[in-house]
């Protein structure tokens, strides 16, 4: 009986699944497998410089400071059959930018690398490092019979986390704008308002250090790469390369934040990142977009650089789509629309969208003798009467509305499955910019859809351009456009910033001159699960 029992136990051991892998990502063990089939592991690419040696950590030795690894554990139960003379082997079946380390030693770097695992009663932890987003590898744990025949195996698929661009629904952590305070170029009122509203979560970048290039949104796009409880911020640095370009190296690069540039060639306006925006997360027609969708404009300069487009498409989780921004002098998608969070909306967000018809309705209802001091020098209109009586301006805006605003909205309805109650139309007018082509449009009334969402947990705020549709600069309560905005956007506290001369008259608005670091959704690391098999 005893022999029979021993034989039965031995047989049971032979057919027991390997269940050899346990995975953890830096202190958060996750048991995957246990007979449940292939396992997968997401690792944050080691793009940053945790040890401050001046190079991305992928290129250096493993140091205690480096935290961009994920671990997997060979569970001791995988060795149990060894008493029968079987052999347990760990091998790297394939790799594209993934290496495996034992302590600080690289053990697997090329496909075919393999080690025999000595029997032990202790779990054995190995570490995984990724060179870049979407790096991929497969590690195989194989049990061989004493005669060398393979009995069974268990695979672990490893993926470098994809790059996920941040959207307006993510909590803001820090906000930047470039401060200029020269007599002939001065945004100190706007900077002071930001400081008053956001306190130490706002940082003014000294414009003198960066050639007075205030367009900090256009140069950089914040993204995150996540794996379980670990996160890396990635600053995508545009090929625009104007004076503000070194800010990522000076302010942001370091432990936990990397930067990189994708694309090459002579930059066009469409390579600026006011032309690279996101929806909020949504589901439509059975497809989930848990990280939102990317959109950019196809303008006079075409679409953004091919290398960047390819990179963003390849991430596979934010499905970019294209809008028509060719009608604008600058040609950025942030000039007429923004997606904003709204807890009262059916899907948690609304689209703020510029509508010229609404603007005419509002202007036509106002006293035509209302002086508009700001518009006199900037746009050549002394009062509201001169705007509403400009037949050419009306025809111009009517045509833009039909040919571009409505057409782009149709596209958005299709791509984002927008319902009518998810759209908030706000009044806005455009004019042709002298020296630009045709239509060559830019905001005539400061573009309020070109806004920044700062949703610190305690209070959601939208920062937008002061429209100055009034006689007295200092009396915002008398501004009918501000009143209209407050009525249409009750979901947030609105802060109107004086961006008029530096930004608005420079063909941009508040969003163009601001950048925000945001917290990724804790579930972002699951993004790799959405990717197709490597």
């Amino acid at each position: 009986v005893r022999r029979i029992l021993l034989l039965a136990l031995a047989l049971a051991a032979c057919v027991e699944p390997l269940s050899g892998f346990e995975l953890e990502a830096l202190g958060l063990p996750t048991t995957i497998g246990a007979g449940a089939g292939p396992s997968s592991l997401t690792v944050v690419p080691d793009l940053d410089d945790d040890d401050l040696d001046g190079a991305a950590d992928w290129n250096g030795l493993r140091t205690p400071e480096n935290d961009d690894y994920a671990a997997f554990v060979i569970h001791p139960r995988a060795h149990r059959p060894n008493r029968t003379g079987q052999r347990l082997q760990l091998s790297l079946l394939s790799t594209d930018g993934i290496r495996v380390l034992d302590g600080s030693d690289v053990i697997f770097e090329e496909a075919g690398d393999a080690i025999d695992l000595p029997r032990t009663k202790e779990p054995r932890t190995l570490w995984v490092q990724a060179q870049r987003p979407l790096a991929a590898a497969t590690v195989r744990l194989t049990r061989f019979a004493a005669d060398g025949d393979e009995l069974e195996h268990e695979d672990l698929t490893i993926r470098g986390a994809p790059t996920i661009l941040n959207h307006h629904g993510q909590p803001a952590e820090a906000v930047w704008a470039v401060a200029v305070d020269w007599p002939d170029y001065d945004n100190s009122d706007m900077i002071a308002d930001y400081e008053a509203e956001l306190g130490d979560r706002f940082e003014a970048v000294d414009g003198r250090e960066y050639g007075f290039d205030v367009w900090i949104q256009d140069e950089f796009e914040f993204a995150t790469l996540s794996a379980s409880d670990h996160r890396l911020d990635l600053v995508i640095d545009s090929i625009r390369n104007r004076e503000i370009d070194p800010v990522d190296e000076d302010l942001w690069e370091g432990p936990g934040t990397a930067s990189g540039t994708w694309g090459e060639g002579w930059p066009t306006s469409q390579d600026s990142f006011g032309n690279l925006e996101l929806t909020l997360p949504f589901s439509a027609d059975g497809t989930d977009y848990p990280f939102g969708r990317i959109y950019w404009g196809d303008g006079e300069g075409g679409e953004p650089a091919e290398g960047l487009r390819d990179y963003l498409y390849a991430q596979g989780v934010q499905a970019p789509f294209v809008l028509d921004s060719s009608w604008l002098c600058v040609g950025h998608v942030d000039e007429w629309m923004s997606f904003v969070p709204d807890a009262t909306a059916p899907r948690g967000f609304r689209l703020v969208y510029t509508d010229t018809t609404l603007a005419w309705e509002l202007l036509d209802s106002l006293d035509p003798d209302t002086d508009l001091p700001r518009y006199r020098e900037a746009h050549g209109y002394r009062d509201i009467g001169e705007i509403v009586s400009d037949a050419r301006l009306r025809a111009y805006n009517d045509d833009l509305q039909r040919d571009y605003l409505d057409a782009n909205l149709d596209r958005l309805r299709e791509e984002v499955a927008l319902a009518d109650d998810e759209i908030v139309f706000i009044p806005g007018l455009f004019e042709r910019v002298s020296g630009c082509g045709n239509p060559g449009a830019a905001a005539l009334i400061p573009g309020m859809a070109n806004l920044v969402v700062v949703d610190f947990p305690e209070r959601q705020r939208f920062f937008m351009a002061d429209p100055f549709l009034r006689t007295d600069d200092g009396d915002r309560d008398a501004d009918p456009m501000i009143a209209a905005m407050r009525e249409r956007l009750p979901m947030a506290d609105l802060t109107f910033l004086d961006d008029f001369w530096v930004y608005h008259y420079g063909l941009g608005e508040v969003h163009c001159g601001t950048n925000v670091r945001r917290t990724p959704d804790p579930a972002d690391w699951r993004a790799s699960a959405l990717l197709p098999e490597p």
């Binding site: 002939d184 367009w215 950025h332 020098e377 050419r392 057409a407 020296g435 420079g506 063909l507």
Partner: protein, 248 residues
């Protein structure tokens, strides 16, 4: 005797040169009248817009007081083209007072963009100056200048020159034809509808689109169901969309 005159010309160049235009004297006088502002003005710089080109960004630099100083700088013609263009944009708002400088400045300007921004000033210039200036600008070899002429003409408060807009309907550049079609329709003269209807077969889609909107604005019936039916199947989606909207 001939040698004597040559010597006289060499010794007295002002006698040989044409007399200074009146606007130059006025501008110099304006500068001399307010040396403090002139000194302040000389420190004002222009800064890049989001589109990359320069613009002055203070109310002072765009003010009526600054206009003669920009005019003087443009007359000297010593600055780089980007800065000249910014000055042209800044002074153009005050062409009601300084429009007489525009013909000379435009004629002397080699940079097309600066020329275009000067021509934009005819939106505000006196009627006779504007008619002649816009007519000349309509013959400019550069497309952007001709486009600016259409825009400035169209935006003149209540006193544009429709005959110049009609001439621009035949411009070789599609952007100019499209702008002219839109501008003409904005005037609301239904007698222009047939001209716009004739442009519905233009080879350029942007022109067809502007003509379609323009004709509809003036007299939708003039387009005719048959033409609308053809345009509803236009290869350009915007034209087809606009035609279908009119059909509906």
């Amino acid at each position: 005797m001939r040698r004597f005159f040559l010597l006289l010309l060499l010794l007295c160049p002002p006698l040989a040169a044409a007399a200074d235009p009146p606007w130059l004297g006025r501008a110099e006088a304006a500068r001399a009248a307010d040396p403090r502002f002139a000194a302040e003005f000389d420190t004002i710089d222009a800064y890049p817009t989001r589109a990359g080109f320069l613009r002055f960004r203070t109310e002072a630099a765009l003010s009526e007081s600054a206009a003669p100083l920009h005019v003087l700088a443009l007359a000297k013609g010593e600055e780089v083209a980007e800065l000249r263009a910014a000055r042209a944009a800044a002074m153009s708002r005050h062409a009601a007072a300084w429009g007489d400088a525009l013909p000379d400045l435009v004629a002397a300007e080699s940079d097309p963009r600066t020329r275009a921004l000067l021509v934009a000033g005819y939106r505000f210039a006196g009627s006779d100056l504007a008619r002649a200036g816009l007519s000349n600008a309509g013959q400019d070899p550069d497309e952007l200048v001709r486009l600016e002429a259409v825009d400035a003409n169209a935006r003149r408060a209540g006193s544009g020159f429709p005959e110049l807009l009609r001439a621009s309907l035949r411009d070789p550049a599609a952007s100019v034809r499209a702008a002219a079609a839109q501008a003409l329709s904005a005037r609301g003269d239904s007698s222009d509808a047939p001209r716009l209807v004739a442009m519905l077969t233009d080879t350029d889609a942007a022109v067809r689109l502007a003509a379609l909107h323009g004709a509809a604005r003036l007299d939708a019936r003039a387009i005719g169901a048959a033409r609308l039916d053809v345009l509803a199947r236009d290869g350009d989606p915007r034209v087809a969309r606009a035609a279908r909207a009119l059909t509906d």
